[in-house]
Symmetry: C2
Subunit: 193 residues, 2 copies
């Protein structure tokens, strides 16, 4: 795993992904915009007319065991597959009660009782995923979760998201927004600045 | 535990703690300065003539179990005790190999094989501690560790630091600097901006 990579999601009038919808799942939503751009490596303030931007870093694995890591590495696809024209940006913030728990208590809720990791594995290799950490950066969310999938895998992805939202872990989520985007004719992977 | 608190250590010609020595334990050291100030809550760029500053955030517990957390909460003293006139700032960066390990592997090295948490517990309540995370912030170190102790506990503290440096965990440390400071006549706790 490389050193933390800064990733910024920029919502504005321009960008290579069109925003289909923005849904406030829990708490305050995000302002609507026409397009979303994914910028790696710089602050990525983007073009003029930015409605919002969210940034964070790829980081080390907070809960995943070595056994789970091996399964993920073997089965999860790379970002930027040409056929994965659909994507979801789901920013999440958890309550202070969650962060006050010791590490083993959080792991027990996340995997033993909520099957977060094993549920995600069931959707591999259809859904490519990236977890971006932003709690330590003073951002409005704790995580920015990003998923890329092909139109024919959309139903399976909806089922995955629905199952996770019913878990004990999700009772700790106090803010969640669901941003769905569709790539245009371009099949390029996220730009690296 | 409150939301992440930004903490900045500012080395310059002014500040309520006098720097006794700065030792490069592993890798590149830090420039010498006369004084160190601890600033909470803002970027804390400090007075003119800043030699260096290091910032990070208090964060959730990365490895501590609930059992260990209860012991720590029961035994660890608050920061800012009047008698704890000595302090150490020990910034640490670990190799990429460490961060590439799954969470259970890092926990096994840190506690099962290196007794990091239990070694620290042995020095309670003599040494007050604060762990500041900065890897996700793009800072030159991964952690800023901060310890406050009374002069009569200095030998016990040196023994603690020496034991940790001999552990398997420490073989993953690629940069470490040891900054020792002494408080002046003031007995105030760190300033909150």
């Amino acid at each position: 795993m490389p050193a933390p990579l800064l990733v910024t999601f920029v919502a504005s009038g321009a960008g290579d992904r069109r925003i289909d919808r923005i849904e406030a799942v829990r708490g305050t939503g995000l302002e609507h915009a026409a397009c979303l751009a994914v910028v790696e490596g710089t602050r990525g303030d983007g073009p003029a007319g930015v409605r919002w931007n969210l940034r964070g870093v790829t980081s080390s694995l907070g809960y995943t065991t070595e056994t789970e890591r091996r399964i993920l590495v073997a089965r999860q696809p790379e970002l930027g597959r040409p056929q994965a024209t659909k994507a979801a940006l789901i920013p999440i913030r958890k309550r202070e009660e969650w962060w006050a728990l010791a590490q083993d208590k959080r792991r027990a809720i996340l995997e033993l009782r909520s099957q977060h990791i094993s549920t995600g594995v069931k959707n591999l290799p259809a859904v490519a995923r990236r977890l971006i950490h932003c709690r330590d950066l003073g951002e409005p969310f704790d995580f920015l979760t990003w998923f890329e999938y092909a139109p024919e895998d959309a139903d399976a992805f909806e089922e995955l998201v629905g199952r996770l939202r019913e878990t004990e872990e999700w009772s700790y989520v106090e803010r969640e927004v669901d941003v769905r985007v569709m790539r245009g004719t371009s099949t390029s992977s996220p730009s690296r600045a």
